[in-house]
Subunit: 811 residues, 2 copies
């Protein structure tokens, strides 16, 4: 194995310093200047706080207008059940995993039993001869892809080596046992810090280094000086776990070829990206590959990329000349699909005696796995964006490791970064002898993002803190920094935190088509996945609101790359805000066309018209009116300045660019009460209050569901969920739902959800995303509550009974 | 039965006279004035021929430009096989009839054995109790529709009375036999002329009269005066048959309910119209009913409407709570679906000695059936539109009859009208002792439609006549008006005709969406049905041509009302011209957006750019270039005059209004050679030459296939196809493909196809429709050829051996 030495030169993140300004940075500095009258640099030089200016007043006006629109709405703001909920809960909904094409074959995949090995010999001839086997796939059948479709040098346990398509799953399974493989085992490394040590085994010989990429670096001010000036310093390490998404619907791909065209049904968060990668890998035009994903039975960040399994299904179908379905077993999912990466973090915070944070230093290491996108080693946004802390010094490393592909799991790395930060803030509050709630209130900045020096599109974190504390009864429940506890019986404790999460921004592409049919009913043609968060219902409500029709008259299509345009991923808490904006703009385009015909027909200027309950009317004289259906019939097309009847229903469309000039983040606060049994180490969560800045709740019921679901998932992250690699063999020891523990109904606490609605300046009707940050509070709140109950500080999640007992016994 | 007397007041067809001018008529007269400098009225007053004017020169210029565009094209004009042909011929294509939903039920329908009856008692209780029967439908379960979904007063043989959904077709069939029905038979009438006689039985008690509608009336000049001035008069009657479409794929509907949403897979020519009617009948928003029709296994005008069977499947599925599929048996199709109506026509023509036609009088009766659209009693367009004949007097009647629903069958009534006309023209030529080819050449008008007084968008009928005559060898084969024939052995003969067909105009709605993906490949999202005429391939070629990409990089969607906008029917020979225009306009919209980004990137004005082979380049400096994929990436959105990156693929869309100012017709000529066996009366078609004005052949292979298919279908119409109602019982005696005779491979003649390409001013790249007129020449050509061979004139089709022998024996 060749080894190359590479200097890890720190880079300067766009807005951290002005030493290497990028054009975008300069442009945003300009924008900042327009808004505030001075740039960040000038402001730092002056040592001033930003004061409201005419520009700030403009923002406040925009926010007030959005708030007024939200208030005036009829559809938006009502509690609506998921429009497809009935089908889902009755089992009638056809999820991709329910697609069984006629004459379809079944797939099983042979996977590496070793974390790193070379395939010296692969003989599939006996498998091919087994009756019922229709095709066997080996690496030599596969085009190049990263990670490889079938590996000749598997570099994590469970990487696919060969695949079989057969008439049923039993035959396919039997065929796997007839495949002869000779492996040469190679050295492996599992942990991020180990992977970066000199002399560490190279994760895969296709890499030149385990850490070829620049680390994440962010600096502002002078951290050493900050710590020198601090009155109180807290520091510690934290460790998070390999964590699985455990979506209810297992990953699957069903491939069907029609001559030069490939259709794949798959459970997806982003059919267009997958389509593009699959088409590029197969060297086919994108238009000739079609991905369909009617419903998605949970995604959580795991169903965003084109996996080897997609290619395996497609290549087997091509080879067999018949459709092939591959429904991954739960073990397959654990081994092939992504998991959230574990993060080891060394964090140090400095505070003045009054509670003001003055310095932050962080070093973090995450295990990227043997492939995959650059992991986020930078996710502790609360600290650097809404804490006014002037001195920051952050470095994060994400080397390769001989573990499965790492990837996003609802909020990517925010829960781990916020875990590390919020348990130290709690310690700092204790040292400062302050209520931690007060420490947050002291430090949070509500107007300007401290990294990009742009105003927040909305920031309701203070309101979240205050409302959640009130609903939780924090002032009554929190007993101060107690010293005495009776550890002979179950102890109760409370913990809290507040956060900013670097998710939820509008991002391109944002596209949608909105059609109005002859009877005035509406179809939204869009590609946003329906992950269970009520996404399509939200889009229907937005279109209904814009067009003044009942929500029940609106349908929203499923993701299908053949008929929709790329509107980006449903992830990153972007769907409501980004796709919702596209849907809103498309509906507005349709509305404008509708009113164009209506204005001619009613002989009223277009701007004087409004729509309510399916009727278009002149605002000044409501007796001048016609139905939407009549307006569709009156639709016109202007050709060479001649107005001609369109004779057609209306097609509205929108391509929305990314907005500029705002920092768009998600924010919230959590308060947890737990009971810890010192005898068993079991933690029972009794009560959760979470408050989130949602901008404006388009559908308060969906908001409530998201918060509840996220809080429960957060409990799993905090207390039970951990995929375990055996350090000796590099093998996953618990790739199943018996040994990988999830919370169940029996352990559900009382959960109170609070939607704070400060109105986001950019989002549709003031809304912003919420999908991810809902799982952030659980881990730090529970850790802080365990400390309150037991007097032990845990810094490793999940906080299993073993770890709790270990900590208690070390007291 | 109540009887009401109603005066059948003639109405004046829009352009026939100016006695009752409509606004549209006046507008078009104005347009005519602009074009020609005088209106039709003035022209008639002046007794002048229209002379080319500046306006005419403008038309000629437009045509020349379209011709140049067509010539410059790369995709358009190449011979491409149907892009889905492979799937179709290998049985891999999923036609709607191939849709078998999980847990789907099967349907059988109980049909009236009488042509007219009242259901006195209907007891389905025993059927409901049969194990395996999941739902039984009776009239009381059905909302109102015309015709009724299930009839309480069936008024034609085979009208549906009750329906059953069961676990398989055998159980459903058995259940039908357990349904007890008591009928009261009512008097019936089958023939159109009988239905209009005083005292005729009323076809259905829901009607007040068998002929409640105004007859079709068209007059110009003074027919009596014309005949008085004529040197030669010919007259005769003609009779056509009840004819079935016999599409390969039987009608079918598979219905699936998801709470408030209904999906129906059905073999269709026009999913949007069917969707609208089904939704309205069920009082549902249009957007909540989804019709899907991937491929359509033949339509020929029979799959354009919402039938009772669609409603039966939907209502049974609702009642059973499971998906229901109803695949009609061939007998079901014969009895429930439409057929072409029989026409009885009395026609009289007057000619001057030099061959100029001076008078035409026609009276025609068609049997509408007991429901359905107004039948076309007016279809003999050749006569009144391109023959200069100044004196015309036409009346057509379309009363109800106790026969199945009448409807369009490829070219609606044009074949029967042209049959009546062309066999008389042949007789006139004989009386005038002229070559019939010369008689056509003498009379045809090539520039101005004689009815609407508008220029033809293209008219290549003269070229069709001359080229087809040349290819056929008419001058050699036609022996003049022979008197001697040897009727003891098979005789050969030739016949010809030329026609104008009142089909092929662009009509609204015309809509399409055209998307360009990131790699520069293209998806056309449109709703035009794929009937087998290569429609989707044609659309792909048009988009490829506009966007400068290979046809193989373009996909075209199937009809699916959830994701497409109504783009009108695939019928009336309108698809290529109407939907093709929408596709072209949508592609042009996408192209403009593409070039907008490219122009910014290349710093070249948009108008200076062109595209070829997927590369955008500056026409003046081809080294300035970028790929379409790069241009997509450079796409922009302009918001408040600020140019922002779109970050999205491109969405082009088009809503095209109906063009004005031209008469858009389809034209052509046919030459047939036959051999008649006087012993058996069998006619063998030996040779067919058909030439058609196609404007411009987008895909010459598809054009050729259409002509061949139409010629063969025309042979069936001429010689074998006839659905027979027993006059005594009103029952269809041959509702099956044993007794209803189609031509087979063994009887195929040599067929030569000629595409005449005069370039249509309006059509995409100069193209026009061709789907229908291809079946017009067969009947009159064969009748004329039989006369040439045998000396007997047949005026009733199909010209079966029985009718031929009868005619020969009457010599």
């Amino acid at each position: 194995m060749a080894k190359t030495k590479k200097t890890l030169a720190p880079i300067h993140w766009e807005f951290g310093t002005l030493r290497n300004p990028t054009p975008l940075m300069l442009e945003l500095e300009e924008y900042s200047k327009e808004l505030y009258g001075f740039t960040q640099v000038e402001r730092v030089m002056r040592g001033e706080e930003a004061a409201p200016t005419a520009a700030q007043q403009r923002i406040d006006r925009a926010r007030a207008e959005a708030a007024a629109a939200a208030l005036a709405s009829t559809a938006v703001g009502t509690r609506l059940p998921d429009m497809h909920g009935y089908e889902k809960v009755t089992g009638k909904a056809t999820f991709p995993v329910d697609v069984y094409p006629a004459s379809g074959l079944y797939t099983r995949v042979l996977r590496s039993p070793y974390p790193h090995a070379k395939v010296k010999r692969l003989d599939v001839s006996k498998a091919e001869q087994l009756p019922g086997v229709m095709a066997v796939l080996t690496p030599k059948d596969c085009p190049t892809m990263d990670p490889p479709i079938l590996a000749e040098e598997p570099s994590h346990h469970g990487e696919a080596v060969a695949a079989v398509a057969a008439v049923d799953e039993g035959v396919a399974e039997a065929a796997l046992r007839l495949i002869e493989v000779e492996y040469e085992q190679l050295p492996f490394v599992l942990e991020a810090r180990d992977a970066m040590k000199p002399g560490a085994p190279l994760v895969n010989s296709r890499y030149r280094s385990n850490a070829p990429r620049d680390p994440f670096v962010y600096k502002r001010g002078d951290a050493a000086k900050g710590f020198a000036e601090a009155d109180v310093i807290v520091e510690g390490t934290s460790q998070t776990a390999w964590e699985q998404h455990v979506a209810m619907e297992p990953h699957n791909a069903t491939a069907l070829w029609e001559r030069d065209k490939l259709t794949i049904w798959t459970s997806s968060q982003y059919v267009h990206r997958q389509r593009d990668v699959i088409a590029d890998t197969l060297k086919m035009p994108h238009s000739k590959v079609r991905l369909i994903s009617e419903y998605t039975g949970g995604g959580f960040g795991d169903k965003t990329r084109a996996y080897p399994y997609h290619m395996i299904a497609a290549l087997l179908a091509k080879k067999a000349g018949r459709p092939v379905r591959y429904e991954l077993t739960r073990k397959d999912v654990f081994l092939e699909c992504t998991h959230n990466y574990p993060k080891y973090q060394e964090l140090r915070l400095g505070f003045k005696r009054d509670g003001a944070m003055v310095a932050l230093q962080s070093r973090a290491w995450v295990a990227t796995g043997d492939s995959g996108a650059r992991s986020n080693a930078d996710d502790f946004e609360s600290a650097i964006r809404i804490f006014k802390c002037p001195n920051v010094d952050v470095i994060g490393y994400a080397p390769y490791t001989n573990t499965g592909i790492s990837g996003a799991l609802r909020t990517v790395g925010e829960p781990s970064g916020n875990f590390a930060f919020a348990i130290l803030v709690d310690q700092a509050a204790e040292k400062l002898n302050m209520d931690p709630l007060d420490l947050y209130l002291k430090n949070i900045e509500e107007r300007v993002d401290q990294v990009v020096n742009l105003p927040f599109s909305s920031n309701g974190v203070r309101e979240c803190l205050l409302k959640a504390a009130e609903a939780f009864g924090w002032k009554q429940k929190w007993q101060g920094w107690r010293k005495q506890r009776d550890l002979t019986k179950p102890q109760r404790g409370v913990g809290m935190m507040a956060f900013l999460c670097n998710k939820g921004a509008m991002s391109v592409p944002m596209t949608a088509v909105c059609q109005i049919d002859r009877d005035g009913s509406v179809r939204v043609v869009q590609a946003g996945a329906d992950l269970g968060g009520g996404q399509r219902t939200t889009f229907a409500m937005i279109a209904a609101e814009v067009l003044g029709v009942a929500v029940g008259r609106v349908t929203v299509t499923k993701p299908d790359t053949e008929v929709t345009s790329d509107t980006g991923i449903v992830a990153g808490s972007r769907a409501t805000k980004s796709i919702g904006s596209a849907v809103k703009a498309a509906a507005e385009d349709a509305r404008a066309q509708l009113l164009e015909g209506a204005a001619l027909k009613l002989n009223v200027p277009q701007s004087d018209l409004d729509i309510a309950d399916g009727v278009i009317f002149a605002k000044a004289d409501p007796s001048k009116k016609l139905t939407i259906a009549e307006a569709v019939a009156a639709g016109v097309v202007v050709v060479d300045q001649v107005v001609l009847p369109a004779g057609a229903p209306i097609i509205g469309k929108a391509v929305v660019p990314a907005p500029r000039g705002y920092s768009q983040k998600t924010l919230g606060a959590g308060f947890f009460e737990v009971e810890v049994d010192p005898g068993t180490g079991m933690v029972k969560v009794l009560k959760i209050v979470q408050a989130h800045d949602v901008g404006k709740a388009i559908n308060p019921l969906a908001v409530e569901n998201q918060i509840i679901g996220g809080a429960i998932q957060g409990m799993g992250k905090a207390l039970t969920e951990e995929m375990i690699y055996d350090p000796a063999t590099g093998v996953v020891v618990n790739p199943n739902l018996d040994d990988y523990k999830l919370h169940m109904m029996a352990t559900m606490p009382e959960i109170t959800t609070i939607a704070v609605e400060p109105i986001d300046v950019l989002g549709p009707f003031g809304a912003k995303g919420l999908g991810e940050p809902v799982n952030i509070p659980a881990s730090p709140c529970i850790a802080n509550a365990i400390y309150d109950a037991m007097g032990v500080r845990l810094s490793e999640i999940p906080m299993t009974p073993y770890r709790i007992l270990k900590a208690v016994r070390s007291l």
